[in-house]
């Protein structure tokens, strides 16, 4: 950021040693729509609530789960526009890796680079931290992997995780609060298996699975 008036970082330490802007960013995430991911022995599943502001919104135009590479997908909780920016940057980083090595980028490397971008925005002039936490699901030579990346830039590998509203009750929440109301139209599910290809299930497929569960 060239303008001298904004050459300082807006994320500064408080006397108690906290970065208050990041805490607020996590609050923004915590009030976002729930998303969760589960790592199985032979694949990873990520899902998110797709609650739209009005029934008039064309739900097919909203894609909360996105592909970063053919074998890595991502979902978020928090601010959608910030998510889109991160997806764009991550896709570019994955492609740059491929351009250099002609190998698909390992999940850990992509997560590391995305986290580095998020960290940059907590220590640069004139920018604010991203208001999203990401759940990255991928399958590479090290098997299935699930990572959560926070606005601070820290990342964790999970066997199962949830983010957004009602984090602690996420599973119970889905079982109790949405019973009978989940359909292919208000949840999104992304899945990656041994074929190493990440894809989002169509609403019809989700409905089929829901019918089986019931």
């Amino acid at each position: 950021m060239g303008d001298s008036q904004y050459s300082f970082s807006l994320t500064t330490f408080s006397p108690s040693g906290k970065l208050v802007q990041i805490e607020h960013a996590l609050t923004a995430v915590g009030s976002g729509q729930t998303s969760l991911g589960i790592k199985a022995a032979n694949g990873v599943v990520i899902a998110t609530e797709k609650k739209l502001p009005s029934i008039l919104v064309d739900e097919t135009s909203v894609q909360k789960i996105q592909c970063l590479t053919p074998n890595i997908g991502v979902v978020y909780s928090g601010m959608g526009p910030d998510f889109r920016v991160l997806v764009r940057k991550s896709r570019k980083q994955a492609e740059q890796y491929h351009r250099l090595y002609k190998e698909p980028i390992p999940v850990t490397q992509l997560v590391r680079e995305t986290a580095a971008v998020m960290q940059e925005f907590t220590q640069s002039g004139g920018v604010r931290p991203f208001g999203v936490s990401l759940l990255v699901a991928g399958y590479d030579d090290n098997g299935p992997q699930l990572y959560q990346v926070d606005p601070s830039g820290s990342y964790f590998s999970w066997k199962a995780s949830a983010m957004g509203k009602n984090v602690s009750n996420a599973k119970t929440f889905l079982e109790k609060r949405f019973e009978g109301q989940i359909s292919g139209k208000n949840i999104e599910i992304g899945i990656i298996g041994t074929d190493k290809k990440f894809r989002v299930l169509t609403p019809a497929e989700i409905d089929d699975y829901l019918a089986e569960v019931e």
Partner: protein
């Protein structure tokens, strides 16, 4: 004065049965004057990947240092050794970055890939890769090397026979080239060990 023939060099890599051999001459010259007879042209990147660099010696040394630098960072980040095919792509990308002011080198890459499958390739000074299943050659003696390898090569040679073949091909080719020679340096790499040998040929 041709820049690629300033120092003189001869490099060859050959594929055997679950093994490969990479060999070079040992002469370092300044045009017709011989400066050193123990010059190192083949470098180890890791236990299963070797890089030979022919052409201008200063560029070969700098390029080697840059590649080792990149590989060390790769090892730290990815916590594994780089695969030969991946390394070849990295070298190709690095060379093309200098498209309009290139390194005057021709690399020869030889390594054991997944499941110990031997991999060899060479490329020109701006990164055009040339993969081969049998052998690759580079340097001022390359034309003689092509002929010698073509006639002496057999598929699926065991390490000992591969060593003999590579050595004979190298020594007979450098004898026809005044800018390379003064012995040979041969590495034969199998999944379990690396055998390094020095050859004594016509010392001229």
């Amino acid at each position: 004065m041709q820049i690629f023939e300033y120092n003189g060099s001869a490099l060859v890599a050959m594929v055997g049965k679950n093994c490969f051999a990479i060999a070079s001459d040992r002469r370092l010259g300044v045009q017709l004057q011989t400066i050193a007879t123990d010059f190192q042209r083949i470098f180890k990147i890791h236990d299963r990947l070797f890089l030979g660099l022919s052409g201008l010696a200063t560029d070969a040394q700098t390029l080697y240092q840059r590649l080792v630098f990149r590989h060390k960072l790769y090892q730290l980040r990815e916590e594994r050794d780089i695969k030969p095919e991946t390394f070849a792509n990295l070298v190709s990308a690095l060379l093309y970055e200098k498209r309009f002011g290139p390194y005057f080198c021709q690399p020869v890459i030889a390594g054991l890939g997944v499941e110990d499958k031997p991999f060899i390739c060479t490329m020109d000074s701006i990164g055009a890769k040339e993969l081969a299943k049998d052998f690759v050659v580079a340097g001022t003696a390359s034309e003689s090397l092509y002929g010698a390898c073509e006639s002496m090569f057999k598929e699926n040679m065991e390490p000992e026979e591969l060593f003999e073949t590579v050595s004979q091909a190298l020594l007979s080719s450098v004898d026809r080239d005044c800018l390379s020679g003064w012995g040979g340096h041969v590495y034969v790499v199998t999944p379990t060990e690396v055998k390094e040998r020095i050859l004594k040929g016509r010392m001229d």
